[in-house]
């Protein structure tokens, strides 16, 4: 039994292909960071729009966040990869296309901006209105009020939820292999089919992800806890 297990889970194979696998993981990290930045930017725009005074703007923001929260990431990714270039080429009248990398960043960024915009909205709403009014009474400009008074308090309340979203965004970056971005899972499937032995690599990748995510969750929680307690602004 034990020798059987040892032969099926062979760490040597993992070590042998470490460079390819690490390159794949690097690709995952790049996509993660790019789409995280995109998601946060969009989330702030949409989250602010949901608190807007004008009703149409509010409605558009609600539709945006509901649509992207309730569409599976894989469907969204495929849709952006296949359909959006076609629509764009019809509009500008010449052929246009995305590289898989761009489609992946756009898809994941847009999908998670839906989730994050809810977080942003909740964070902004949790700041008492009186604080903004007091700042206005002291003569701060609307922008300064937002940047100096509302935002620092809101961010502290958003952090725990936002870290959760970031963790699931990192988990979702695995699906970019399906539109043939050369990420870690793509490399694993290529190596597996050339080696004809799926076991060590798939098990290894599952354990690797498990390790990375548990570590990241732990570190991020510790980090944000310190920030919140210290009153980071």
């Amino acid at each position: 039994m034990f020798t059987y297990l040892a032969s099926t889970f062979d760490p040597g194979l993992l070590w042998e292909y470490r460079e390819t696998l690490l390159q794949g993981l690097q690709q995952n990290l790049i996509i993660f960071f790019q789409s995280a930045v995109l998601a946060v930017l969009l989330a702030f725009v949409v989250g602010n729009a949901r608190a807007s005074r004008s009703r149409p703007v509010r409605w558009m923001a609600i539709c945006y966040s509901e649509f992207f929260r309730n569409t599976p990431e894989y469907v969204l990714l495929v849709w952006i990869y296949f359909v959006v270039p076609l629509i764009i080429s019809k509009m500008i009248g010449s052929r246009a296309g995305f590289s898989p990398h761009v489609a992946a960043v756009l898809g994941l960024g847009v999908a998670y901006s839906g989730f994050l915009s809810e977080t942003v909205r909740a964070g902004l709403r949790s700041v008492p209105l009186g604080h903004a009014e007091a700042a206005t009474a002291l003569g701060l400009s609307p922008f300064a009020t937002f940047r100096r008074i509302v935002l620092p308090q809101a961010i502290r309340r958003m952090l725990p939820e936002a870290t959760n979203q970031m963790i699931s965004l990192f988990k979702s970056t695995t699906i970019v292999s399906l539109i043939s971005v050369h990420d870690i899972l793509y490399q694993v499937s290529v190596i597996s089919s050339s080696e004809m032995r799926p076991i060590p690599l798939y098990t290894g990748v599952a354990l690797l992800y498990c390790l990375i995510i548990i570590l990241a969750t732990y570190l991020l929680n510790r980090l944000t806890d310190r920030w919140r307690r210290r009153g980071w602004a």
């Binding site: 569409t71 359909v83 988990k171 076991i199």
Partner: protein, 225 residues
């Protein structure tokens, strides 16, 4: 546009509906299985101190591994290691259940731990046995609290179920991609499929939200997480 819609979507509506049926079947089975597994993991974690470590490891592994990795792992590795699952369908159901059972276990635990301590003490004081306390006092309240969260989890299962097409389960996404590869005209089919998923998921999350608000206002219950 409309012409294409008729040719691509309406002509293949049977295929797409079959796919939707497979998607719903897989989601239903996976969700039912994940409730059982999640409850088991939750009970072991709370009430069997000797095995607590195993339960925590199981829950953390299920929660920390991306669903696609789990799906491929179960599909390619488990048949050699354990001799099952035998079909891609079983592998899909098993992987979805595995993933979601980890989350559900934590949800159940939050439900049980969120109950006021007085409930248990009062039950002990009137002389109920430990088993009775769980089945008659704690579980009904805890399940009511977590019901909206469970519906949300079902929505997550439906969302992740798009990925079972990767191991060639004939679900909605699989059928759609098949039509796309046949005609090379993705706009109509993919848009219709995206909207279908949106409608299913949006109704699920609306139901969950409705119950969440209602339980809160009517019974004063609020979920811990």
């Amino acid at each position: 546009m409309l012409d294409n819609f008729n040719r691509l979507v309406l002509a293949n509506i049977g295929m797409l509906l079959d796919g939707l049926g497979v998607t719903l079947y897989i989601c239903f089975c996976a969700f039912a299985l994940s409730i059982v597994l999640g409850m088991l993991a939750c009970m072991v974690r709370m009430w069997v101190p000797q095995l607590r470590f195993v339960a925590i490891a199981y829950i953390e592994f299920c929660r920390a591994t991306p669903i696609l990795v789990q799906l491929l792992w179960v599909n390619y590795v488990w048949p050699d290691l354990f001799g099952f699952p035998e079909t891609a369908m079983q592998a899909g159901i098993l992987a979805l259940a595995l993933q979601s059972s980890g989350y559900l276990a934590e949800t159940f635990r939050a439900g049980f731990e969120g109950l006021p301590k007085g409930q248990r003490e009062a039950a002990l004081a009137v002389g109920l046995s430990r088993w009775r306390i769980v089945t008659r006092i704690e579980a009904p309240q805890a399940l009511l609290v977590v019901a909206p969260l469970m519906i949300n989890q079902l929505a997550v299962v439906v969302k992740s179920s798009t990925l079972v097409s990767v191991i060639s389960n004939p679900d909605l996404m699989y059928q759609a991609l098949k039509i796309v590869n046949q005609w090379y005209e993705p706009i109509e089919v993919l848009t219709v499929v995206a909207l279908t998923y949106f409608i299913v998921l949006f109704s699920l999350s609306s139901i969950a939200n409705h119950f969440y608000v209602r339980f809160q206002t009517k019974y004063g219950l609020a979920a811990g997480t």
